[in-house]
Amino acid sequence: MNEFGKIISLENALSYFHDEMTLMFGGFGGIGNPPTLIKGILEKGIKNLTLIGNDAGFPNIGIGQLVTANQAKKMITTHIGSNPNAGRQMTEGTLEVEFNPQGTFIERIRAAGVGLGGVLIDVGIDSVIDVDKQRVTVAQKEYLVETPLTADVAIVYAQKADQFGNLIFDKSARNSNPFVAMAGKITIAEVEEIVPLGELNPEEIIVPGAFVHYIVKTEGVNWKWAWEN
């Protein structure tokens, strides 16, 4: 049951990760981060990563684990407050951080995902994020030209995939995952369940399989959430 050849082992998936790469990840505050792929990258000791994703997670949750283990040299993100290790590394100069307004950030990813040359947004104009950004005026209103964000590999977490890579998500774990899935040069989806073709209702599919190159079955979340205990 793998006629598109997209379903691969974790070991095979990990062959796509290497030092110095750009890695885009889905998720928001750890929720929707792909746990098994992150564990694999952690254990493989991939370093000098440029991480592109909504936030730096929590110190021991999700993508935050890679930051805590000093495996990232740069983050293109919106928020790092929930992971003090990221702020400390930024202050010490070992982690470069490029901040984006959260809404702008996801539109830059979406732009790459749907083949746009950029998007026009006025959020943050004349603010600290407005450094060397091109401006255009449309209908007497000034906008920043926000450029697309892509990555060597994009990793996402989905609830279900079929073997073509059609994806559906679970509640607020959807967050940035659909557009991250669309924006990578190679997209690997970690999923809770792989179902036969035809089982997902075409009306409910959020990401069409055309965007998804590989599918890995998850081993499940291997951290404790901040609210547990």
Partner: protein
Amino acid sequence: MGMGKLSVRELMAKRAAQEVKDGMIVNLGIGIPSLIPNFLPENIRVMFHAENGVLGIGPTPEKGQEDENLCNAAGLPVTIIPGASYFDSSLAFGIIRKGLLDLTVLGALQVSEKGDLANWIVPGKRVPGIGGAMDLAQKSKKVIVLMNHCSKDGEPKILDNCTFPLTSKACVDLIITEMAVIRVNKETKKLHLIEVLAPYSVEEVIEKTGAPLVIEGDILVYEGV
């Protein structure tokens, strides 16, 4: 609720809850703003929005009933109310950027008399990051800052000019602290003292505020009862 004396945080949230009106779409920041729903009258219908892709957030789930895939933007478990929807981050910010939020309540490091907001970095010390605050502050119909009147070091957080890097200029409409309710007049760029919160006096509020306050007529004292 209604049992015993309110904590300072609860008193602040209860006062802020008065600003939430029937039919509003509202985004609440993390911390004290997240307590606001506990103080809303039962007969008003409000759709709470979260940046991670939920509209129609309900009460905090009972312990043991949490769903790790149903959380707010702070990563804390929530429930939903009838009429709620799930969507992706792009749509979550589409709702904000199009101006569909009636109200946002944010925390802050500093606010100026012009309504400038600084809440993303204490240079050299702490870097919370921008997150959704820039979108929310610039695009919401009304922006309320709910914060402590002074920093932990006792320094005023309400200033004639912010000293920390700004999140957004001239965006704040109302400031609510444990000491006072202060309205920002964006046209005159002046701060108007509206109320003091018990047990503080007008004089104490003036002393702890780093910008001039316009005081007209009698100032109400909010007791929280």
